[in-house]
Amino acid sequence: MYRKTNLSRVAAGALAAASLLASTAAFAGEVTIWCWDPNFNVAIMKEAASRYSAKHPETTFNIVDFAKADVEQKLQTALSSGTTDALPDIVLIEDYGAQKYLQSFPGAFAELSSKVDFSGFAPYKVQLMTMDGAVYGMPFDSGVTGLYYRKDYLEQAGFKPEDMQDLTWDRFIEIGKQVEAKTGKKMLGLDVNDAGFVRILMQSAGDWYFDKDGNLSIENNAALKAALETEQKILQANIHKPAAGWTEWVATFTSGDVATVTTGVWITGTVKAQADQSGKWGVAPIPKLDVEGASHASNLGGSSWYVTAGSAEKDEAIDFLNEVYAKDIDFYQKILTERGAVGSLLAARNGPAYSEADAFFGGEKVWQNFSDWLAKVPAVNYGVFTNEVDTAVTAHLPSLGQGAPIDDVLKAVDSQAQGQIQ
């Protein structure tokens, strides 16, 4: 769509000619999509596109692959500049940021309530993309969490798969100590620059940085407090391998240095990419916090598709999303099998792929488990400032390790967050 911009408006002479050399001609009905992760979102969108193109050969797709931070930065730049020319037709947005975009740039995204039947999706997904009663996105993958563990290491330490079910975090730490004593392996990798672990724990107890009305809730947040306490216990028990950033964190388990991973289901593809570890992994529900409302189900990340309101191919884009993501059950089976993507269309769970046993996980029916847990994920209000508060929490993770009292940490997080969300 931006290619159709009339360059002749600008007297740029020879330079313009030079730059045109690199651009290709625009096709009628080309839908441009921005997303990240070639092995996951990009590949899945390509599959979706080929399914739609098969029925609608006049529609073509231009799926652009950027790093996640780059997609967010481009989207925000384009929206801020107030020009729709620079935007794609469809963009992937992580669920935490959905309300931020919807509320800061009203009118930037197409309302889908009248065109899509949202009753078939996991309610927490629909809720996070709703503003003033209208729904603005197409729910995509879920970040339902699980406890991935190395059966071989745990067995060496004297634990069977049954011992990994229905854990509490205190028990998890106990096991971690024994695993290290017997195998020399750390229990988990922790990214010191990311509060994802805290978010998983907090949401498992049905709470978030904000209350139902979107007000900041830090100092009296029992779930957050328990989550931070747990992270502190882990840091002090020294059963973790520290990592700086995503790549190092992923390496902690792909290299076989740690015994467990607690994260969203989308990591499955990465875990399974280590073919030599086949049969060595199992998946259990995540351990439980010791607070009211605590559960074994939580969520980390997950994202959804949004159609830009100014898109020239708006109707086509909406029809495409509706045809594939809201109706095509077979599509969800394929992306589950090939990419480990658990969609949020509930009907997809009845498809054949979900009940299959996975040899990589020693024949466990992991997908059935994940979809059971998905239904139990507590819905919380991600609000508009999740990034800001998350940064505040991240900034105070090192002081947790140094043994700072949790109430002091909460106070410090609160004060930083207050400064950020004006």
Binding site: L15, A22, N39, D65, T77, G82, T83, W246, T254
Partner: protein, 271 residues
Amino acid sequence: MNAPRFFSTALQYVFLATAAFLSIFPFIWMVISSTNTSIDIISGRTGIGEAFATNVANFFTQVDVPLVFWNSTKVAVLATLLTIVVSSLAGYGFEMFRSKARDRIYALVLLTLMVPFAALMIPLFMMMAKSGLINTHIAIMLPTIASAFIIFYFRQSTKAFQTELRDAAKVDGLKEWQIFLYIYVPVMRSTYAAAFVIVFMTNWNNYLWPLIVLQSNETKTITLVVSSLASAYYPDYGVVMIGTILATLPTLLVFFVMQRQFVQGMLGSVK
């Protein structure tokens, strides 16, 4: 040779050798890493591996290498040439035709060095969007052409330009632009060479602005490709290392080819 002199010389060699080793080591590490698999790289393997061919093959299947290189080269070369032309004109102009007004303006030009790019991003993007230049290579080049630093560099170097040459040419009836073109430019060629090296490296390595402006795979430059490979959910570090090598080779090449003129040109700038 007496003993203190010997020690002092030895010390100087040790100092230089240490500095040289530390400077070069990351480049060597880059090459070593490119022969290892992703897992070996992250777990700190120090030896030479056997994955080089696989990494190269993977890089070439994941990236449209000729297109990406063409984009980078086009942007870097054009932007560099334009920068040098425009800035040398200004450097010459500010030094040769001094007036109170222009000296004040020159001071203002130098002040622009103080503005962080972060402060310009949003307004610049809005301008480019309104002109319909988003996702074009012109949009990357335009804001980089007028560089206060390079204007300063040319003005400093122009101080060493012998005004007698200009006076003689004027007697011969040459116009100012002819003097600039036929006398100044050839005389100052090493200054131009040094400027070319510096500006080319800046443009080739430019990251943040292209990242904001370029929207499609067809317009991406090599730095964007490398950063996007490195920040994938599951980056293949072997492939990333091939990318870093390919991204570094052209600047290395430019530097080695123009090294002699570069050093000469720098000499002129600090007289």
